[in-house]
């Protein structure tokens, strides 16, 4: 987790349970309300999963939301765990993405 938050621009990394929207483990800056990030990320994951199931019979394993003032990356680990990172817009997003995939694989 510290390796993920060590990427410049990353403000928090969490392992969440997508079933109940709760934090399993976290490493984040103090002003990041990780409980809220976990709840809202799990809601997004649930909706994306339903949307994916509606258009084709597959399950999403990676999600990326990029907004004006930041980005959220989520990578599926062993169900129901997801690895979620919150980053500023100037973060090294490519490196973060690779790191999250490696880390999510290691979780299994």
């Amino acid at each position: 987790m510290r390796e993920v938050t060590g990427v410049p621009g990353v403000v928090g990394a969490l392992i969440i349970s997508s079933d109940d929207g709760l934090v399993v483990a976290e490493s984040a800056m103090e002003d990041l309300v990780t409980a809220n990030v976990a709840a809202l990320s799990a809601a997004l994951i649930a909706r994306a999963t339903r949307a994916a199931a509606a258009v084709n019979p597959s399950v999403p394993t990676t999600m990326q939301f990029v907004a004006e003032r930041g980005a959220i990356f989520a990578v599926a680990g062993p169900a129901p765990l997801w690895l979620v990172a919150v980053a500023r817009p100037d973060a090294e997003l490519g490196r973060l993405r690779l790191l999250l995939r490696d880390f999510a694989g290691a979780l299994g």
């Binding site: 969440i16 079933d19 109940d20 929207g21 709760l22 809220n36 976990a38 709840a39 799990a42 809601a43």
Partner: protein, 155 residues
Amino acid sequence: MRVLEPWVGDPLAELLRESSARVALVMTSSGQVIAQHGFTRSLDVMAAAALGAGILATTGELARLLGTRDGFGAVVHQGVGRGVWLAGFDTPRGRWIGLVVFGTESSVGLVRLFFARFAEQIAAAAPPLGPVREVLAEGFERELDDSLRALFGAH
């Protein structure tokens, strides 16, 4: 949705909308119903309110025995297809209790997040308590009927 106190309506509607919860009940710590959504039978509401208040009173006492100064924040029952969130919160009208039933389209985390917001909104929206009215025998039946009608419609 049925509410006894009109200012509870908007925060409760937001809680239900944002958390995708199915059923909600707001009551005083003694089990008096303030608002409800999703119940169809008045008996169910009364039973849920009494049981919810009882559960929180029990866990509160358990917390006291264990030396937990602030008590337990919430009680969650998680089933396969649905869960129940039960928590107390302080308002200018005293301590109230919220009971929220949610399904697989929601989560404990999501209910927790929007319940906290709901409690804040209620605390901010509650008008100051007026002078306590004397309950007279001749008005009791009518006031009880009015309350039941507000919560369950015509009966």
